[in-house]
Amino acid sequence: MTAALRDDFIPDAEPPALVVDELTTQIRVGRTWYDAVRGISFAVRPRETLALVGESGCGKSLTALSVMGLLPAGVGRVSGGRIVVDGVDMTAADEPTRESMRGDRIGMIFQEPMTSLNPVLPIGFQVAESLIQHRGLSKKAALNRARELLELVRVPAAASRLDAYPHQFSGGMRQRVMIALALACDPKVLIADEPTTALDVTIQAQVLALMADVQKREGLALLLITHNLGVVASVADRVMVMYGGDVVESGPVRAFFARPSHPYSEALLAAMPRIDGDTPLQPIAGQVPTLTQMPTGCRFATRCALRHDRCAELPPLTPVGDDPNHLVRCWARMSP
């Protein structure tokens, strides 16, 4: 798998399309607000893919919803930090501004292609609608562009399928339509939340290849949320591992797979089936603590084999070895 790793990431080549700076997102449980995402920072440049990895409940999707400004009102809120999309500060912007950014400058692809399209509207109209809304195109021009977009995502016989309804499409085809929808207005940033999880393995590979191809062609900054490390290895440039709302490790994909440094990253890799390995799969004992029971300090401490007294205090992100781009948040793995 290492042969497929991409190493074409050039730091500081272009200004980032998406900057997240010390983002803290809170979730309300009862009457108390708990930190579900704690001060995470990252930037994604055009043509770059950043993978956000972690178990369910680690704050990956919350991070995505925070960036989109789609946290459910009254349940979730961004309580600190800044999110800058294509130069626009989303955290400082008012709702109409954010509404006009969504779908135009920043797009999102969801996990479930089967239910993410409106069942009673034709495919062509659904793709065209975004162009009518954000770009003020006429219906005819928008439908024409919709056909081009469907061709771009390789929906066969696109022209004749503009009038088709979602139930006439397979899961893979629907995910292609979702990608076309997200790309309609040439966004600068694309967030893909587990875009291939609901698809067959063969279709997964097709959709991933399509996304990589489109990303390169359109110069997109891609934030890929996944728990599939195989997907990370094949398409991502950089990876960020989250646990309990903290970034526990981040770095270039090659360095990460060569030297996974956080105990949680190691455990994730050990839990991944390998075709060449003769070591048995190692499940990670226990589960992510609920928000109300999060330990203070390092949140992985309750499940960690390397736990010691100092873990009651949150370790800082420090470089692994002498690689300034590869960071880990662990007392036990800190360089001396």
Partner: protein, 287 residues
């Protein structure tokens, strides 16, 4: 099992196929369309002026000149029923339409946003629904006064809470669907999501319910007319004609029987349509 049958006709499982299979829907449409056609064509097909009195021919039983007989003023019952259909059906349709539109808009908005306003709307609909529908209509006509417009308003108001409740419930279910999140991620306004994306998804249920409520609205109008709370005489409405015949029920039963049959026929027709549409749109209905 030897060879697949060549070009076997695909089983018809479309909504249209399901709807037309039983024949009930077709019969219902036939009855209702015939009634509407009769009402529209009343000025041309009615044999007499519905308000023309003939003192020499009072309470005449059905014969070749007056196929449904005459009433206590010698007016032709057939002509009065045909003209009465115009009022009864018009009131029913307009009141239902108004009730559906107002109820749906309030219900969709309330269900989509939730929160305090939604709770107030629910409380208000519960209060309104706790009145029997007829009492409610009666109360409103009594307060507003008996006129065509007030009748429509009163009947529409009785329909509004039912449609609020239904549209709200369906919208709340739709709001949890992924495509609504996808719409929000595309930067669509709430208005657009509510009325361009959610509404078409709940329209089938609304149409079914509207056809059943149409029957209720026409029945309510007839009932109000029967107790004298409808368009003032001499204008004829179906319920009013039944009422006029009621005084001579034993001597001249045709005066009440024929308008009652007209009401019954339209009720049956509309209910057949409602049931047929429900079967057609319900995926669980037997194939």
């Amino acid at each position: 099992m030897s060879a697949p049958a060549p070009t076997a006709a695909a089983p018809r499982s479309s909504a249209f196929g399901r709807a037309t299979r039983s024949g009930g829907l077709a019969l219902g449409v036939l009855i209702v369309v015939a009634s509407i056609a009769a009402a529209v064509a009343a000025p041309w097909i009615a044999p007499f002026d519905p308000n023309a009195q003939d003192v020499l021919l009072v309470l005449s039983p059905p014969d070749t000149v007056h196929p449904l007989g005459t009433d206590a003023f010698g007016r032709d019952v057939l002509s009065r029923i045909l003209w009465g259909a115009r009022i009864s059906l018009y009131v029913g349709f307009v009141a239902t339409l108004a009730g559906v539109v107002i109820g749906t808009v309030i219900g969709v908005v309330s269900g989509y946003y939730g929160g305090l306003v939604d709770r107030l709307v629910v409380a208000a609909t519960d209060v309104l629904l706790s009145f029997p529908q007829l009492i409610m209509g009666l109360l409103l006509v009594a307060v507003l006064g008996a006129s065509l417009t007030n009748l429509i308003i009163a009947i529409a108001v009785t329909a509004v809470p039912a449609f609020i409740r239904m549209a709200r419930g369906s919208t709340m279910a739709m709001r949890e669907r992924d495509f609504v999140d996808a719409c929000r991620a595309l930067g669509y306004s709430d208005m657009r999501i509510m009325f361009l994306h959610v509404l078409p998804n709940i329209l089938d249920e609304l149409v079914v319910m509207a056809s059943l409520w149409l029957a209720t609205a026409i029945r309510t109008e007839s009932t109000l007319a029967f107790i004298g709370l409808s368009v003032p005489p001499p204008t004829s409405t179906w319920g009013g004609i039944v009422r006029e015949g009621f005084d001579n029920l034993l001597d001249a039963p045709w005066m009440s029987i024929f308008p009652s049959l007209a009401i019954l026929a339209v009720m049956i027709g509309l209910n057949l349509i409602g049931d047929g549409l429900r079967d057609a749109t319900d995926p669980r209905s037997p194939q």
